[in-house]
C-alpha cells in the first residue's frame, strides 16, 4: 500500500463528512417532501384553495432544494472514488447493485419532478397529482439502496476474503443480493427513512410557526403548520422504537460501537445507563449512572452483559467520547420531539370545542420553531454516531479507513474549496427561499417571474422593480 499521512486521512474524512452532512439534509427533502406536497395537493383538488396554494408554493421550494440536492448528491458519487478508491476498487462490485438501483430511483425522481413542476395547468389535475406518487416511491427505494451500502459497511456480507500465501487478499464468491440485504439494512433504512420525514416535517412546521409568531395567523399558515407537524409527529412516535431495535442489533453485530455509544469501558452485567460523561485516560468522569438500564435497553434484561470497549485492542476502538455524546444528543432530542408531539395532539384534543388554541400560544410556537433545527441536529448526530462508531474501519472488520483513502495529495485544498462552495450554497439557498416567501406575501401570486432582463417599458429600472415585474409585465 502507498503510505498516506494522518493529516491527509483527516482531510479526506472531513471532506466526506462535510459533503454527506450537507447532502443528508437535502436528501431528506427528496424523500419526504413529495409526500407533504401530495397531502396538500390532494386536499386542494378537493376544494381547499389554501391547500392548493400551499402545494403550488411547496413545489417551487422543491424545485430549489431538489436541484441543490441533485448536485450535492453527485459530488458524493464522485467522492466515493476520489476519496476512497481503496474501497471502490476492492468492493465496487460487491456493493454496486444497490448503488445502481439507487440510480434508477434518482432517474424516476428527477423525471417526475420535471413533469410535476412544469405540469401545473397543463396536465389533467388528477394525473398531475399522481406524478408525485413515483417520486414518493423513489424516495423509499432510494433511501433503502443508499442506506443498504452504509449498512453493508457496518455489517459486511456477500463475499469471501481469501488470503493467499504471499499475504495478498482476494475477494471471491461475491453475492450482491446478500450484500445488499445485509444484517443491518432494515433497521438502518427504517431509522433513516423516518428521520427524513421528521426532519422535513419539523422544519416545514418551524417555518409556519415562525410566520405565526410574526402575526401571520391566516389559515394558510395554520394548515401548513398542521400538515407538516402531523407528518413529523407520526415519525417522532415510531422513531424511538426503531432506534431501540437498531440498538439491540448492535449488541450482537457491532459490540464495539455499542460500547462507545454507552461509554462502557469494560464488559459488565447490570450495566448502567450513562448520562453525560467523558472518557479521560480510560476513566469515565462527570457522569450520571442509572444501574441496569443499559443492560435492559440494549440487551433486553438487567442481568445480560453489555460489551465494553476493552474487547478489542486500543487501535481498533472508535473515539468513544464523540460517539457517546452524539448518540446522547440524538436520543435526547428524539425523546424531546416525541414528548412535544404527544403534547401538541393531546392539547389539541382537549381544546376541541373551546376557544383555546395552542397555535396562538407564543411559547408553543417558539418551541415549534426550535424543533426544526433540533430535528436536523438529531439527524446529524445519529449519522455521526454510526459513522464515527465504526472507526477505524470503513468496512467493519475488513478494511480500515486509512487503507481505503486516496494516495493523492491536496485533499486539504479540495476540502477547503468544498467548504467554501457549500457555505455559499447554504447561504444562497436560504436567501432565495426567504425572498420567495417574502414575495409570495407581498404579491399574493404564486408565480414569481424571473428577471431575465429589464422590462421593455422601463429602460433603466432598479433591480428590484425588474424583479417584481419581470418578463410577464
Amino acid at each position: 500500500m502507498l503510505a498516506v499521512s494522518a493529516s491527509q486521512l483527516l482531510a479526506a474524512r472531513d471532506q466526506m463528512a462535510l459533503s454527506l452532512g450537507f447532502h443528508i439534509v437535502l436528501s431528506c427533502f427528496g424523500v419526504a417532501f413529495p409526500t407533504l406536497i401530495y397531502i396538500v395537493h390532494r386536499r386542494g383538488l378537493r376544494g381547499d384553495a389554501d391547500a392548493l396554494l400551499l402545494a403550488k408554493r411547496w413545489s417551487k421550494v422543491a424545485a430549489v432544494l431538489f436541484a441543490v440536492g441533485a448536485v450535492s448528491g453527485t459530488v458524493l458519487s464522485f467522492e466515493m472514488g476520489l476519496l476512497w478508491p481503496g474501497l471502490m476498487s476492492r468492493f465496487g462490485d460487491v456493493v454496486g447493485l444497490p448503488f445502481a438501483l439507487e440510480g434508477i430511483a434518482f432517474f424516476v425522481e428527477a423525471i417526475f419532478l420535471g413533469i410535476y413542476l412544469y405540469g401545473w395547468n397543463k396536465l389533467p389535475p388528477k394525473v398531475h397529482l399522481r406524478t408525485l406518487v413515483p417520486m414518493m416511491a423513489a424516495g423509499v427505494v432510494g433511501t433503502f439502496c443508499v442506506v443498504a451500502v452504509n449498512a453493508w459497511m457496518n455489517s459486511p456480507s456477500g463475499f469471501h476474503l481469501v488470503t493467499a500465501a504471499d499475504g495478498t487478499q482476494r475477494i471471491t464468491d461475491v453475492q450482491p443480493l446478500t450484500a445488499m440485504f445485509n444484517n443491518a439494512v432494515w433497521t438502518e433504512f427504517l431509522h433513516m427513512f423516518v428521520a427524513a420525514y421528521m426532519v422535513v416535517g419539523f422544519l416545514a412546521a418551524a417555518v409556519y410557526a415562525s410566520g405565526m409568531l410574526k402575526g401571520r395567523r391566516d389559515r394558510v399558515h395554520r394548515l401548513g403548520f398542521t400538515v407538516a407537524f402531523a407528518v413529523a409527529s407520526v415519525g417522532a412516535l415510531v422513531q424511538p422504537l426503531i432506534g431501540h431495535i437498531a440498538g439491540m442489533r448492535l449488541a450482537e453485530h457491532q459490540p464495539v460501537k455499542l460500547a462507545a455509544m454507552e461509554l462502557a469501558t469494560t464488559t459488565e452485567k447490570n450495566a448502567p445507563l450513562r448520562i453525560g460523561g467523558i472518557l479521560i485516560d480510560g476513566t469515565v468522569r462527570a457522569v450520571i449512572e442509572i444501574p441496569g438500564i443499559s443492560s435492559l435497553l440494549a440487551r433486553g434484561w438487567f442481568d445480560r452483559p453489555v460489551p465494553g470497549l476493552d474487547q478489542v485492542p486500543k487501535a481498533d476502538q472508535p473515539p468513544a467520547n464523540v460517539v457517546h455524546n452524539s448518540f446522547q444528543i440524538m436520543v435526547g432530542i428524539g425523546t424531546a420531539l416525541l414528548l412535544f408531539a404527544v403534547f401538541f395532539w393531546w392539547r389539541r384534543r382537549r381544546n376541541r370545542g373551546t376557544d383555546r388554541d395552542l397555535l396562538t400560544s407564543r411559547r408553543f410556537l417558539r418551541l415549534a420553531v426550535i424543533a426544526g433545527p433540533l430535528a436536523v441536529i438529531a439527524l446529524e448526530s445519529g449519522w455521526t454516531t454510526t459513522e464515527v462508531g465504526r472507526q477505524p474501519w470503513i468496512v467493519q472488520g475488513v478494511l480500515r479507513v486509512k487503507d481505503a483513502v486516496t494516495p493523492n495529495g491536496g485533499i486539504w485544498f479540495s476540502f477547503t474549496v468544498i467548504a467554501i462552495v457549500y457555505a455559499g450554497l447554504a447561504t444562497i439557498t436560504s436567501r432565495v427561499l426567504r425572498s420567495m416567501s417574502r414575495r409570495w406575501r407581498e404579491n399574493g401570486e404564486v408565480d414569481l417571474p424571473t428577471p431575465y432582463g429589464p422590462p421593455s417599458d422601463d429602460p433603466n429600472p432598479s433591480g428590484r422593480a425588474a424583479g417584481r415585474r419581470g418578463v410577464h409585465a
Binding site: 500500500m1 502507498l2 430549489v64 431538489f66 436541484a67 441543490v68 441533485a70 448536485v71 450535492s72 448528491g73 453527485t74 459530488v75 458519487s77 472514488g81 476520489l82 471502490m88 476498487s89 468492493f91 465496487g92 462490485d93 454496486g96 447493485l97 448503488f99 445502481a100 438501483l101 440510480g103 434508477i104 434518482f106 432517474f107 424516476v108 428527477a110 423525471i111 420535471g114 413533469i115 413542476l117 412544469y118 405540469g119 397543463k122 475477494i171 453475492q175 450482491p176 486516496t406 494516495p407 462552495v421 444562497i428 439557498t429 432565495v432 425572498s435 424571473t450 431575465y452 432582463g453 429589464p454 422590462p455 429600472p461 433591480g463 428590484r464 425588474a466 424583479g467 418578463v471 409585465a473
Partner: protein, 343 residues
C-alpha cells in the same frame, strides 16, 4: 459478446445518452453565456430556461448511471480513472454544483442583479464542465490512465496531452451545436421564428466549427493516440462516416430553417461520433492498459447489473419518454411563446 462486454456496452449507452441530452443542456448554458446583455438577452435566456428546465435533472442522472455502472462492473478501472484524473474530476464536480444550483437559483431570483450573478455561475460552469469531461475522455482514449497497482498516478500530465485538449474543445463545440439546434427547434415550435433563426444561425456556425476542429484533430490524435486513431480508421470508420453525413445533413437542414429535421441530424452526428470512440477503443476500458475482461467485477454482480438495466427499461425509460413527449407538446411550449414580448 461476453457478459462483461455486454455490461460495458450498457455503460457506454449511458455515455452516449449523457453526451446527447446533458450535452444539449450544457450547450444551452454556453448560449446563455453568449446571449448578450440583459436587455437583448432576456428573451433568449427565457427560451433556454424553458427548454432545459423540465429535463436537466433527469438528463444529469445519466452521469450517475455511468459512474455507478463503471464502479460496479469495472471497479479497478474506475478507481484508476478517478484517482489519476483527480484534478479534472474536481473541476467537473465543481462545475456540476455551480451549474445546477445556479440554474435553479436564477429561476427564482428576485432582482436582475441576482439573476445575472446566478446566471453567470450557471453559464460559465456550462462551459467548464463539458470541457473537463472532454479532457477526461481524451486522457482515457490516449492511453494515459493505467491501473493503480501501487504506482502513483501522474496527476497532471495524464490529462493535459494533445488528445485531452482536442476532447475538451470538441466537447464544448458539439454541446453548443446540439443545444443550438434543440433551441432552434423549441423556439420554432413555440411559434417564435425570429428566435428560432437566431439559434439556427448559431447552430450552423458551431456545427461548421465542430466539423473543422474534428478534421484538424486528426493530426494530433494520429500522433498522440495510436489505438484510438487505428480504431477510428478501422473498425469504427463506419460511425465516423455516419457522423459526417448526419452532420452535413443537419447543416443543410439548418440552412433551410428546418429545425426539427436538423435536430435529428445533429443528434445522430454526435451519437455516432461518441459510439465511434467507444468502438475504436473496444475491448479496452482504459486504452492500452485494461481490457474489459481483465478488470470486470464478479459475474454475479454483472448479472445483477443486467437485471438493474431491465428494471430501468420498464420504469425510468417509459417515464423519460413521457417527459420528452410532454415537453415537445405545443401547449407545453406555449409558455415560452408568451415571454419574448416583454424581453
Amino acid at each position: 459478446m461476453s457478459l462483461a462486454a455486454l455490461c460495458a456496452a450498457l455503460m457506454f449507452f449511458g455515455v452516449v445518452a449523457y453526451a446527447i441530452f446533458a450535452g444539449a443542456d450544457f450547450g444551452s448554458g454556453v448560449w446563455d453565456l453568449l446571449a448578450g446583455d440583459a436587455e437583448t438577452g432576456g428573451a433568449r435566456r427565457h427560451q433556454i430556461d424553458r427548454s432545459i428546465g423540465p429535463v436537466w435533472e433527469a438528463n444529469h442522472v445519466w452521469l450517475i448511471y455511468v459512474l455507478v455502472f463503471m464502479w460496479t462492473a469495472f471497479p479497478r478501472a474506475f478507481a484508476a480513472m478517478i484517482t489519476t484524473l483527480f484534478v479534472p474530476w474536481l473541476f467537473v464536480g465543481l462545475g456540476i454544483v455551480l451549474r445546477g444550483s445556479g440554474f435553479a437559483f436564477r429561476k427564482f431570483a428576485e432582482t436582475l442583479r441576482q439573476a445575472r450573478f446566478y446566471g453567470a455561475a450557471f453559464a460559465a460552469s456550462s462551459v467548464i464542465t463539458p470541457f473537463f469531461l472532454g479532457m477526461i475522455a481524451g486522457a482515457i482514449a490516449s492511453g494515459r490512465v493505467h491501473l493503480l497497482d501501487g504506482r502513483h498516478p501522474d496527476l497532471l500530465t495524464s490529462w493535459t496531452g494533445p488528445t485531452s485538449w482536442v476532447g475538451g474543445v470538441l466537447a464544448v463545440l458539439t454541446c453548443s451545436f446540439l443545444a443550438a439546434t434543440f433551441l432552434a427547434a423549441d423556439s420554432h415550435r413555440a411559434g417564435d421564428q425570429e428566435m428560432a433563426n437566431y439559434f439556427g444561425r448559431r447552430a450552423l456556425v458551431s456545427g461548421v466549427l465542430s466539423g473543422a476542429v474534428a478534421m484538424i484533430a486528426i493530426a494530433p490524435i494520429e500522433s498522440d493516440a495510436h489505438t484510438l486513431a487505428d480504431g477510428l480508421q478501422g473498425k469504427a470508420a463506419p460511425f465516423v462516416a455516419i457522423s459526417a453525413v448526419a452532420g452535413l445533413f443537419a447543416l443543410w437542414r439548418l440552412r433551410a430553417q428546418r429545425y426539427a429535421r436538423a435536430r435529428v441530424g445533429a443528434v445522430i452526428a454526435v451519437a455516432a461520433v461518441v459510439i465511434g470512440w467507444g468502438v475504436a477503443q473496444y475491448p479496452d476500458v482504459l486504452v492500452d492498459h485494461a481490457e474489459i475482461g481483465d478488470v470486470a467485477g464478479a459475474r454475479s454482480t454483472l448479472y445483477g447489473l443486467l437485471i438493474v438495466f431491465a428494471i430501468a427499461a420498464v420504469t425510468a425509460v417509459p417515464a423519460m419518454v413521457w417527459l420528452f413527449v410532454l415537453v415537445n407538446r405545443r401547449d407545453w411550449a406555449d409558455d415560452a411563446h408568451r415571454a419574448p414580448s416583454a424581453g
